[in-house]
Protein backbone atom coordinates (compact mmCIF):
# COMPACT_ATOMS: atom_id res chain seq x y z
CA UNK A 1 0.00 0.00 0.00
CA UNK A 2 1.24 3.44 -0.89
CA UNK A 3 2.28 5.75 1.91
CA UNK A 4 -0.62 7.99 2.92
CA UNK A 5 -0.14 11.68 3.52
CA UNK A 6 -2.02 13.32 6.39
CA UNK A 7 -2.09 17.09 6.78
CA UNK A 8 -3.01 18.50 10.20
CA UNK A 9 -4.13 22.14 10.19
CA UNK A 10 -4.53 24.36 13.23
CA UNK A 11 -4.94 28.00 14.20
CA UNK A 12 -1.83 30.03 14.72
CA UNK A 13 0.30 28.35 17.32
CA UNK A 14 0.79 24.93 15.65
CA UNK A 15 0.58 23.35 19.14
CA UNK A 16 -2.79 21.66 18.73
CA UNK A 17 -1.73 20.33 15.34
CA UNK A 18 1.44 18.86 16.82
CA UNK A 19 -0.53 17.05 19.51
CA UNK A 20 -2.96 15.69 16.92
CA UNK A 21 -0.18 14.80 14.49
CA UNK A 22 1.59 12.62 17.03
CA UNK A 23 -1.73 10.95 17.92
CA UNK A 24 -2.40 10.26 14.22
CA UNK A 25 1.04 8.78 13.74
CA UNK A 26 0.51 6.45 16.73
CA UNK A 27 -2.94 5.49 15.50
CA UNK A 28 -1.70 4.69 11.99
CA UNK A 29 1.18 2.64 13.34
CA UNK A 30 -1.10 0.45 15.43
CA UNK A 31 -3.47 0.08 12.46
CA UNK A 32 -0.54 -0.98 10.26
CA UNK A 33 -0.90 2.00 7.92
CA UNK A 34 2.18 3.76 6.59
CA UNK A 35 1.68 7.52 6.93
CA UNK A 36 3.56 10.73 6.48
CA UNK A 37 2.17 13.53 8.64
CA UNK A 38 2.65 17.23 7.99
CA UNK A 39 1.32 20.30 9.76
CA UNK A 40 0.31 23.75 8.70
CA UNK A 41 -1.57 26.78 9.88
CA UNK A 42 -5.12 27.11 8.57
CA UNK A 43 -4.12 30.19 6.59
CA UNK A 44 -1.49 28.18 4.69
CA UNK A 45 -3.76 25.29 3.82
CA UNK A 46 -4.23 25.98 0.10
CA UNK A 47 -0.51 26.20 -0.58
CA UNK A 48 0.19 23.14 1.54
CA UNK A 49 -2.35 21.10 -0.41
CA UNK A 50 -0.44 21.98 -3.60
CA UNK A 51 2.97 21.03 -2.26
CA UNK A 52 2.08 18.08 0.01
CA UNK A 53 -0.96 16.57 -1.81
CA UNK A 54 -2.51 15.11 1.34
CA UNK A 55 -4.89 12.13 1.15
CA UNK A 56 -6.77 13.47 4.18
CA UNK A 57 -6.82 16.66 6.21
CA UNK A 58 -7.34 16.80 9.95
CA UNK A 59 -8.58 20.24 10.96
CA UNK A 60 -8.24 21.57 14.50
CA UNK A 61 -9.96 24.78 13.44
CA UNK A 62 -12.57 25.48 10.74
CA UNK A 63 -11.18 25.21 7.20
CA UNK A 64 -12.95 25.72 3.86
CA UNK A 65 -15.09 22.75 2.82
CA UNK A 66 -14.20 22.90 -0.88
CA UNK A 67 -10.60 21.78 -0.60
CA UNK A 68 -11.04 18.64 -2.73
CA UNK A 69 -9.59 16.51 0.07
CA UNK A 70 -11.57 14.71 2.81
CA UNK A 71 -11.52 16.83 5.97
CA UNK A 72 -11.91 15.42 9.49
CA UNK A 73 -12.48 17.49 12.62
CA UNK A 74 -9.46 16.69 14.80
CA UNK A 75 -10.67 18.22 18.06
CA UNK A 76 -11.47 14.75 19.52
CA UNK A 77 -7.70 14.21 19.72
CA UNK A 78 -7.74 16.94 22.38
CA UNK A 79 -11.12 16.44 24.04
CA UNK A 80 -11.37 12.63 23.91
CA UNK A 81 -15.06 12.96 22.97
CA UNK A 82 -15.82 11.04 19.78
CA UNK A 83 -12.22 9.87 19.55
CA UNK A 84 -13.01 6.20 18.81
CA UNK A 85 -15.36 7.21 15.99
CA UNK A 86 -12.80 9.61 14.54
CA UNK A 87 -10.08 6.97 14.64
CA UNK A 88 -12.23 4.37 12.90
CA UNK A 89 -13.31 6.91 10.25
CA UNK A 90 -9.70 7.91 9.67
CA UNK A 91 -8.46 4.34 9.43
CA UNK A 92 -11.20 3.61 6.91
CA UNK A 93 -10.29 6.68 4.83
CA UNK A 94 -6.58 5.88 4.95
CA UNK A 95 -7.09 2.26 3.93
CA UNK A 96 -8.84 3.32 0.73
CA UNK A 97 -6.70 3.28 -2.38
Amino acid sequence: MVKKRVLVACGTSIATATVAASAVADMAKSAGIDVEVAQCKAAEIHGKIQTFSPHVIIAMTPVPSDLGVPVFNGVPFLSGIGLDQLKSDLVEALKKD
Partner: protein, 156 residues
Protein backbone atom coordinates in the same frame (compact mmCIF):
# COMPACT_ATOMS: atom_id res chain seq x y z
CA UNK B 1 8.88 25.44 38.58
CA UNK B 2 5.23 24.51 38.60
CA UNK B 3 2.93 25.92 35.98
CA UNK B 4 0.44 27.55 38.31
CA UNK B 5 0.27 28.90 41.83
CA UNK B 6 -2.49 29.86 44.27
CA UNK B 7 -2.37 33.55 43.32
CA UNK B 8 -3.25 32.62 39.72
CA UNK B 9 -6.36 30.63 40.65
CA UNK B 10 -9.94 31.86 41.07
CA UNK B 11 -12.07 29.20 42.76
CA UNK B 12 -15.51 30.78 42.48
CA UNK B 13 -15.42 33.01 39.48
CA UNK B 14 -18.74 34.69 38.67
CA UNK B 15 -19.02 35.64 35.00
CA UNK B 16 -21.77 35.94 32.43
CA UNK B 17 -19.67 35.53 29.30
CA UNK B 18 -16.29 34.36 28.10
CA UNK B 19 -14.97 37.91 27.75
CA UNK B 20 -15.41 38.50 31.49
CA UNK B 21 -13.60 35.26 32.28
CA UNK B 22 -10.72 36.12 29.97
CA UNK B 23 -10.44 39.61 31.44
CA UNK B 24 -10.48 38.31 35.03
CA UNK B 25 -7.81 35.66 34.48
CA UNK B 26 -5.79 37.90 32.17
CA UNK B 27 -5.73 40.56 34.89
CA UNK B 28 -4.30 38.06 37.38
CA UNK B 29 -1.50 37.23 34.93
CA UNK B 30 -0.86 40.88 34.07
CA UNK B 31 -0.87 42.18 37.66
CA UNK B 32 1.67 39.54 38.65
CA UNK B 33 3.99 40.31 35.76
CA UNK B 34 3.49 37.24 33.60
CA UNK B 35 2.13 38.92 30.49
CA UNK B 36 2.30 42.20 28.59
CA UNK B 37 -0.57 44.68 28.57
CA UNK B 38 -1.42 43.46 25.05
CA UNK B 39 -2.16 39.92 26.26
CA UNK B 40 -5.85 40.16 27.19
CA UNK B 41 -6.83 41.81 23.92
CA UNK B 42 -4.74 39.30 21.98
CA UNK B 43 -6.53 36.44 23.73
CA UNK B 44 -9.94 37.98 23.06
CA UNK B 45 -9.09 38.50 19.38
CA UNK B 46 -7.73 34.99 18.99
CA UNK B 47 -10.74 33.46 20.71
CA UNK B 48 -13.03 35.04 18.08
CA UNK B 49 -11.15 33.37 15.24
CA UNK B 50 -9.88 30.19 16.89
CA UNK B 51 -12.24 29.33 19.75
CA UNK B 52 -10.81 27.15 22.53
CA UNK B 53 -13.82 25.53 24.25
CA UNK B 54 -13.33 21.75 24.42
CA UNK B 55 -16.30 19.39 24.79
CA UNK B 56 -14.43 17.12 27.20
CA UNK B 57 -16.09 14.26 29.14
CA UNK B 58 -18.37 15.38 32.03
CA UNK B 59 -16.69 18.72 32.77
CA UNK B 60 -16.03 21.05 29.87
CA UNK B 61 -12.98 23.28 29.72
CA UNK B 62 -11.50 26.08 27.65
CA UNK B 63 -7.85 26.96 27.03
CA UNK B 64 -7.75 30.61 25.92
CA UNK B 65 -4.25 31.77 25.00
CA UNK B 66 -2.29 34.17 22.81
CA UNK B 67 0.91 34.12 20.83
CA UNK B 68 4.24 34.00 22.65
CA UNK B 69 5.12 37.65 21.94
CA UNK B 70 2.51 38.77 24.50
CA UNK B 71 4.01 36.66 27.27
CA UNK B 72 6.85 37.59 29.66
CA UNK B 73 6.97 34.47 31.87
CA UNK B 74 5.14 31.19 31.37
CA UNK B 75 2.24 30.37 33.70
CA UNK B 76 -1.30 29.05 33.74
CA UNK B 77 -4.19 30.90 35.38
CA UNK B 78 -7.14 28.73 36.39
CA UNK B 79 -10.72 29.90 36.78
CA UNK B 80 -13.34 27.62 38.33
CA UNK B 81 -16.69 29.07 37.30
CA UNK B 82 -19.68 29.20 39.64
CA UNK B 83 -22.02 28.87 36.66
CA UNK B 84 -21.11 27.43 33.26
CA UNK B 85 -20.11 30.07 30.71
CA UNK B 86 -20.45 29.48 26.97
CA UNK B 87 -17.18 29.46 25.03
CA UNK B 88 -16.93 28.95 21.28
CA UNK B 89 -16.16 25.34 20.41
CA UNK B 90 -12.74 24.59 18.98
CA UNK B 91 -13.01 23.52 15.35
CA UNK B 92 -16.74 24.20 15.08
CA UNK B 93 -17.76 27.78 14.24
CA UNK B 94 -21.44 27.12 15.04
CA UNK B 95 -20.91 25.34 18.35
CA UNK B 96 -20.50 26.55 21.91
CA UNK B 97 -19.42 24.65 25.00
CA UNK B 98 -20.74 25.24 28.56
CA UNK B 99 -17.40 25.60 30.30
CA UNK B 100 -16.83 25.04 34.04
CA UNK B 101 -13.03 25.35 34.26
CA UNK B 102 -10.87 27.74 32.27
CA UNK B 103 -7.13 27.25 31.92
CA UNK B 104 -5.59 30.42 30.54
CA UNK B 105 -2.21 29.57 29.07
CA UNK B 106 0.59 32.09 29.04
CA UNK B 107 3.44 30.37 27.26
CA UNK B 108 6.67 32.08 26.35
CA UNK B 109 8.19 29.38 24.15
CA UNK B 110 6.11 27.75 21.48
CA UNK B 111 7.87 24.39 21.78
CA UNK B 112 6.94 24.18 25.47
CA UNK B 113 3.32 24.81 24.48
CA UNK B 114 3.29 21.51 22.59
CA UNK B 115 4.43 19.37 25.51
CA UNK B 116 2.20 21.35 27.86
CA UNK B 117 -0.79 20.74 25.64
CA UNK B 118 -0.02 17.03 25.44
CA UNK B 119 -0.06 16.82 29.23
CA UNK B 120 -3.17 18.99 29.52
CA UNK B 121 -5.00 16.69 27.12
CA UNK B 122 -4.29 13.87 29.56
CA UNK B 123 -5.90 15.92 32.34
CA UNK B 124 -8.88 16.92 30.21
CA UNK B 125 -9.65 13.34 29.26
CA UNK B 126 -9.63 12.30 32.92
CA UNK B 127 -12.86 13.58 34.52
CA UNK B 128 -11.68 12.56 38.01
CA UNK B 129 -8.97 15.23 38.01
CA UNK B 130 -11.35 17.88 36.72
CA UNK B 131 -13.91 16.93 39.39
CA UNK B 132 -11.24 17.38 42.04
CA UNK B 133 -10.35 20.83 40.73
CA UNK B 134 -14.03 21.77 40.54
CA UNK B 135 -14.84 20.60 44.05
CA UNK B 136 -11.76 21.78 45.93
CA UNK B 137 -12.28 25.15 47.63
CA UNK B 138 -8.64 25.80 48.54
CA UNK B 139 -6.53 27.41 45.84
CA UNK B 140 -3.36 26.02 47.40
CA UNK B 141 -4.66 22.46 47.03
CA UNK B 142 -5.72 23.00 43.42
CA UNK B 143 -2.27 24.36 42.59
CA UNK B 144 -0.59 21.25 44.02
CA UNK B 145 -3.08 18.89 42.34
CA UNK B 146 -2.60 20.56 39.00
CA UNK B 147 1.16 21.03 39.10
CA UNK B 148 1.84 17.43 40.00
CA UNK B 149 0.09 16.36 36.78
CA UNK B 150 2.38 18.50 34.63
CA UNK B 151 6.13 18.30 34.14
CA UNK B 152 8.08 21.26 35.45
CA UNK B 153 9.29 23.68 32.87
CA UNK B 154 12.62 25.36 32.36
CA UNK B 155 12.64 28.85 31.00
CA UNK B 156 15.59 29.77 28.89
Amino acid sequence: MGWTQPSLIETSLEATDSTQVIEALGTLLFDQGYVRDTFVQAVLDREKVFATGLPTPEIQVAIPHADVEHVLRSAIAIGVLVHPVEFGEMGNPEGTVPVRIVFMLAVKQSDSLVSLLQNLVGIFQNPAILHEILETPEREVIAVLFNEKLPDYQEA
